[in-house]
Symmetry: C2
């Protein structure tokens, strides 16, 4: 698992053996079962997540109905809003699959930055990437029709449509499961034609 | 202008006089006229913006029509996606009002980090805040009706509805100007009743 992490991080920074050892010593990998709820509405939390394997889902419960707003898969990170604002969470985070995650606590940050000063640079580079990605996600949602959104998703994250339940995917795309089913049928017919 | 900036940054870090002088020496404040286009579709750029006074708008031109996806006002920052990805921009950035901005170039970063090492910490704290804010914006857009979105905007950014043209605001909310006008009328009637 550590090897995969270092391969990913090498895109941003070349880590020394000592830095790698520091990371391994932190004992950051944790496994969770499919369905596990990591954060609930109303809860306070200090935990941030980075997906090594598996899939997380961020969702709200509004008038008794789940509204999925994001999925996180391999090498994606989630800093819940409530961790930054220090207020109770407005949403839930749950595992869509059995998942192995890096769990880090905000209170560990200072210690890590001290042991491993370049970690701050790494976090900044990761944050910048994430900001660019979030801009693209929001803009895609605002400027595309539901069918385009689904096609964009198939292009950008082809695995996701296979990995998550269709009703969660529909909610994520801002449409009903019936609409998603119609869109899929239409696309399948166009491919055949 | 520098005084306002330091007051804002004091929320995150207490700056020493020397650090403040380093920032002032960078000559980072720039003024732009209403309507100025800072970034165009297809352009490459290294420039990131922080609004001291005024308002920026991020928009796409799709089939000849402008689609506004974000506004940036006082103490908000915009790192265009193309700066991070190093690809041509997919969108435009323009001044909605006469604006005073901090313009920083990615290539200046290394120099600033060297002169002022805690700047990295500051950037990270600002990024984290921005990520939390972006999550909230995306989730609000995904989980709210157009009328709720407008009410949320009035609550969260009361000045915006007064500062930007109504057709841009409608586009930002993902509705037609006619729908926005109907929503405003309905709300005004409810307030009266």
């Amino acid at each position: 698992m550590a090897t995969e992490l270092f391969a990913f991080l090498a895109q941003y920074l070349t880590l020394s053996d000592e830095e790698k050892r520091t990371i391994i010593d932190l004992d950051i990998f944790h496994s969770f079962k499919k369905g596990a709820i990591l954060l609930s509405e109303g809860e306070r939390s200090e935990a941030e997540y980075f997906v090594m394997r598996g899939c997380l889902r961020r969702y709200y419960v509004i008038d008794g109905e789940e509204k999925t707003t994001a999925f996180y898969t391999e090498f994606e990170s989630l800093s819940p809003q409530c961790v930054i604002t220090k207020e109770p969470s407005k949403y839930y985070v749950a595992c869509v699959e059995d998942s192995t995650l890096i769990v880090s606590k905000v209170s560990m940050e200072a210690e890590i930055f001290e042991k491993f000063p370049r970690f701050q640079r790494l976090c900044l580079l990761l944050s910048e990437d994430l900001l660019a990605k979030n801009q693209a996600t929001l803009d895609d949602f605002k400027t595309s029709s539901p069918e385009q959104r689904y096609l964009n998703l198939l292009r950008a994250r082809p695995d996701l449509a296979q990995r998550v339940p269709q009703h969660q995917l529909a909610s994520y795309l801002g449409i009903t499961p019936q609409s998603l089913s119609r869109i899929r049928k239409r696309i399948a017919e166009e491919v055949k034609a």
